[in-house]
Amino acid sequence: MIEMIWQAEFQQAAFRCVVEAFSRPGQISVLPECKHNAAIAVLATLVDSESSLADPHQQLDNSHWLRLQIKPTAPELAAFILCQGTLPVDFEPCQGTLASPELGATLVLMVAAMNGGDTTYQLTGPGIETAVHIAPQGLDISWFKQRSGWNGAFPLGVDMLLATEEGILALPRTTQIKEIN
């Protein structure tokens, strides 16, 4: 029996959670129950042989790559990059071009929790009515520092998705992140 995350019905429901997450940055979306980390479930939903994926921190095993039907790509070239949030940034992702900003990468960052971390961030921008606050745990400080450089010249930039065991939270390139303590 094929595991749930590789089935069409799961992927449809998971996709709607991803849409909800990117539509409402900073808000946690809980994925339908499955036996996988939310980051893996999101990749199963969005990635296939017509896309590209980098795994610089070796979070995926052989069975994942077989199911995705692709081989790993260098993070500098990949449309999707799976990252371990505790590690510092060690690559430069695609930021797209003026004519094709959609080529900016989507970073899926595995973190321990969306809240309870030492630093609180205020988020504003499209999808957020006034402001929301997050305090992720297990996210190296370099990710948001580098992000502000990558996203310095809209429409170029990268879009981020934080993922815990069961939930996701999106930070599209339009989200302004401000440290508040």
Binding site: A8, E9, Q11, Q12, A13, F15, R16, V18, V19, F22, S23, R24, T45, L46, V47, D48, S49, E50, S51, A79, T97, L98, A99, S100, P101, E102, G104, T106, P126, G127, I128, E129, F154, P155, D159, P172, R173, T174
Partner: protein, 285 residues
């Protein structure tokens, strides 16, 4: 599936490609994300761009509403709804806006405000507002990227000088999140302000032109205007200065269609038939 047709018609590769494009469209508000529009068993120009979005989004828990120029009963709306019902066993359909989770529409945004748990899919014939000033798509893409809309603004201003007001009745150029200018599809000017800070996600699908774009929730959407020529919605005031009313429900707040009845009289009726019916139900208890 027993009849050999994939749930929601599209194969899973097509759905994933549309899904990846939808995510980028939300992340870059107003930007036209290219995708490889699939052949659908109906001619392009019959809402296949919107339909492909609906099919990439839809699941068994969804309730779908399909409208064409405000009506659930027009041939186009009926055909699209039948196709969705046939290819998506288990989903529900409705004509009542409040019951719908997914709304696919052509030419109108529903009269009543959308909720955060609803998604509106608009069918788009011509996605690029710059096409009237620049024939080359490569050049238009750079102009969009730089938010260089000076030629579009000049063109609009020439219109104003000639006609004393902005004569565009549909497809009013609208700036999203202070950067991209979109063609909001052939909705009337009356509907354009509904894009601004909408509670619901609004997705646009152009099947023939192979583009997907989005206005996320709580996102600024400003119709183009000039200091001396502000943006105005359609005027439904009669010669005595009174707001015209719908002849069926009496509403003086809705967008009205104008037509000539059997006696040759000019009459007005809500364009949104679901809203009109709900107003009539309220009036009759």
């Amino acid at each position: 599936m027993s009849n050999g047709i994939n749930f929601a018609f599209l194969d899973e590769y097509a759905k994933r490609e549309i899904r990846r494009s939808v995510i980028k469209a939300i992340c870059i508000p107003g930007y036209q994300v290219p995708y490889s529009s699939r052949e659908m068993p109906m001619g392009r120009g019959f809402g296949t761009g919107g339909l492909q979005l609906t099919l990439a989004l839809i699941g068994v828990t969804d309730t779908v509403k399909v409208i064409d120029q405000g009506s659930d009963d027009s041939v186009n709306a009926v055909n699209l709804r039948k196709f969705i019902e046939m290819t998506c066993p288990g989903i529900a359909t409705t004509t009542r806006l409040q019951e719908a989770t997914l709304i696919q529409s052509r030419h109108r945004i529903p009269e009543q405000a959308l909720r955060a748990d609803q998604i509106l899919v608009l069918q788009v014939p011509y996605p690029d507002a710059l096409v009237i000033v620049e024939p080359s798509e490569d050049k238009r893409k750079v102009m969009h990227g730089e938010a260089d809309y000076s030629r579009l603004l000049v063109k609009l201003y020439e219109d104003i000088v000639k006609f004393d007001e902005i004569t565009i009745s549909h497809r009013y150029p609208t700036r999203i999140n202070d950067h991209y200018i979109i063609d909001p599809s052939p909705i009337p000017r009356y509907d354009v302000p509904k894009l601004h800070n909408s509670k619901a996600l609004i997705l646009f699908g152009a099947g023939r032109e192979k583009k997907i774009y989005a206005v996320p929730p709580h996102c600024p959407a400003e119709p183009l205007a000039f200091d001396d020529v502000p943006f105005r919605i359609e005027d439904f005031t009669d010669s005595r200065g009174e707001r015209r009313a719908c002849k069926l429900c009496g509403s003086q707040e809705s967008f009205l269609d104008e037509f000539i009845d059997e006696q040759g009289e000019r009459v007005y009726q809500c364009s949104d038939s679901d809203y009109c019916e709900q107003q009539q139900e309220l009036a009759h208890g």
